[in-house]
Symmetry: C2
Subunit: 460 residues, 2 copies
Amino acid sequence: MFNQEIYAARRQQLKAAVKQGLILLLANEESSMNYKDNLYHFRQDSSFLYFIGIDRPSLAAVIDIDKDREIVFGNELTMDDIIWTGPRETIREQAAKSGIHTVQPLSDLDTLLQQARAAGQTIHFLPPYRADNAQKLSDWLDIPYAALKSRASVPLIKAIVAQRSIKSDLEVAEIEKAVGITVDMQLEAIRSAREGMTETEIAGRVQGVAVSAGGNLSFPIILTVNGQILHNHYQQTVLQSGQMVLCDCGAETDMHYAGDLTRTFPVDGAFTPLQKTVYEIVAAAQQRAIDALRPGILFRDVHLLACEQLAEGLRDIGLMKGDVKEAVAQGAHALFFQCGLGHMMGLDVHDMEDLGEAYVGYTEDLQKSTAFGLKSLRLGRALEPGFVLTVEPGLYFIPELIDEWQAAGKFTDFINYDKVQAFKNFGGIRIEEDFLITENGSRLLGKPLYKTAAGIEALR
Amino acid sequence: MFNQEIYAARRQQLKAAVKQGLILLLANEESSMNYKDNLYHFRQDSSFLYFIGIDRPSLAAVIDIDKDREIVFGNELTMDDIIWTGPRETIREQAAKSGIHTVQPLSDLDTLLQQARAAGQTIHFLPPYRADNAQKLSDWLDIPYAALKSRASVPLIKAIVAQRSIKSDLEVAEIEKAVGITVDMQLEAIRSAREGMTETEIAGRVQGVAVSAGGNLSFPIILTVNGQILHNHYQQTVLQSGQMVLCDCGAETDMHYAGDLTRTFPVDGAFTPLQKTVYEIVAAAQQRAIDALRPGILFRDVHLLACEQLAEGLRDIGLMKGDVKEAVAQGAHALFFQCGLGHMMGLDVHDMEDLGEAYVGYTEDLQKSTAFGLKSLRLGRALEPGFVLTVEPGLYFIPELIDEWQAAGKFTDFINYDKVQAFKNFGGIRIEEDFLITENGSRLLGKPLYKTAAGIEALR
């Protein structure tokens, strides 16, 4: 936890922005695997962590702006609990550490909410993303399950996005810690991968590094010789000589800040000449994007710069043709780069994704495109000092997509399908790093890790 | 997956036992961590795996006994899905592998259930343990959320418990694979633990072993120098010289069968004389229990034998006094052994816990005791060939409980509180192995792992 002044100040700023009503923040519940008491590792809700700071399930917090009171609701441990789980800090002690001095049993919350509703108070809540919390909100507020998302508080969402988007120095330090652990995860993958191992053998070691460091994974590891599959979680494939491994992974610190890095490396320790050529195209696109990072620039435009650089590289090796700016404007490059350049990162690896991309990555004036490729860009809006984001261009040769586009005759002015056909078994390459937007530009977060083809080869 | 004849035969046996009506089995959904699309590793429902065999979320299966039809409900991947997750086997292909040849979109299920209800068909379903599936059942069957558990089908539960309790040779082989990986996890813990490391550092490596082997953890790792805390998941403590580490962990294979082993070992590689003395008491109790395992014996009685052996040992070192049988009958030993001797194990580490202990571990004639200690014994009923279970006695010195009992003057005829006080910092010791009940006795599952004090010391 940070110190209590920080949490108190965050809540103060939130109240000032939301202005009136009652803010209801829900902690997450434990999540069951195959029976009720067999649990996944507990992951607290990030906004609850941000404003309340208590990393414990089955709590709720009320920040009542109108009545100027803050209450944490939860049930303290019984003697029976203590025998099984050991003595723990009480909720009262934990709440005090974030500057909240009123703790009531969970059963009191329903009554409080009934009274607030009867008095016509606005009850601000966030869109739920877990069924158990949705069920609770539906019961307490008498809102049909299916209507919860649309009835979530837009003023609360906007206020929280505004606050959490700007990372404090302490938060940046915690993110750098997460990135540092992620670097160690990448080194474990790069150094241990050998022909004949399964993907999962390596992924297990990588996960072990994250857990050993005192936290966990910030998202499920992508570690695959099929790098063209963007979110591949099938990991039983055996590594073969000549292949590349794409490893996209992140640690989460014990305070739940995330890291997120990708490296693509050769099973044999050395890239083939063709792999190196394509790798350098991705690296050049990443550098072009990094060089453009600064306050005020639209991240959508940074994305498009990277796309143009990718298209240039693909034109140089004969896979694309024609004017690269025009190709990118029309979306032809998206055959090879189907997703976005990056996303916000913080307490969530896709920071605040539960609050809605329309608020986190876009604005009322800049709505997300519906075009293939751009529709997967999570962040488009103008950058501000304090933003933390990923820069992760890639080239992905997806056989099903290549065949579909070729059959449909799409973008034949820009794509040399005959040459592309030869790449259907190439796989995919991604390079990803995490950056803080500074007053003048950007700063790479975490300890450095080689990302040139030669650097990657030197790590083995 | 096993071959399709096995799944078909299992369903045939189930239909014969349930006799009439429509059996509705729900697959699990993906579980969200901190936003909808950031997922815990997927864990399928075990009964769904057992009868349908498809390891994939968002499915349901109907086994309609009255109309003699079997249908899997689920939505096939779209082109958009394939770009992100890669091409996968279709649901139709997967269902065929378990002998089901009718696959319909999920949206058809609601209609089918409405028709079945209108026709007055019995709809058998299992008690839900996840909120999302509870919500679905509540909607489909028009049963209030809170009433779902009591409206679950007892005939279905009893039939499934009868089937899943008896493990086939193929299942035993899969469980042995899980136990084998668990042995490797234990070796990793015992060999890597050193003074100055945190518990979590070791736990991370142990988890890495399980994931690297192609599966996952069968339950959250308990790895702690505070072994007296029965389900301790706080792992930030630094290992100190002279302490013991209790490691209770299990692997789950890629087919989701579980292993579950506990070892308690010294940080320094060698036990102190007092630690060795207490260790040997637990070891003797475990051996007494193992020797008693055979078809027909009540596991409750095996538990009580182990308790008597523990009490004898504690009497020998002066912590208890008086007649050990009488002490155990009255429950005095439960100051040191607060929980049960073991539990069923299979597709779940506490096998079928979601179906209810009253059906899995007890019978109508043998109900669970409500006495402290015995109330935590998950399995009491007569053993049968084919049962797989754990044997895991322990001695736990819980300061809060010792003080509570002493203050209340409990069992002063059997407990020497003055001597017990000196053990308040001793911690806890548990030894756990997994057994198959055979025609004549029992068989230890998985490759062997030292469990004597001398053996544990030799592993370092």
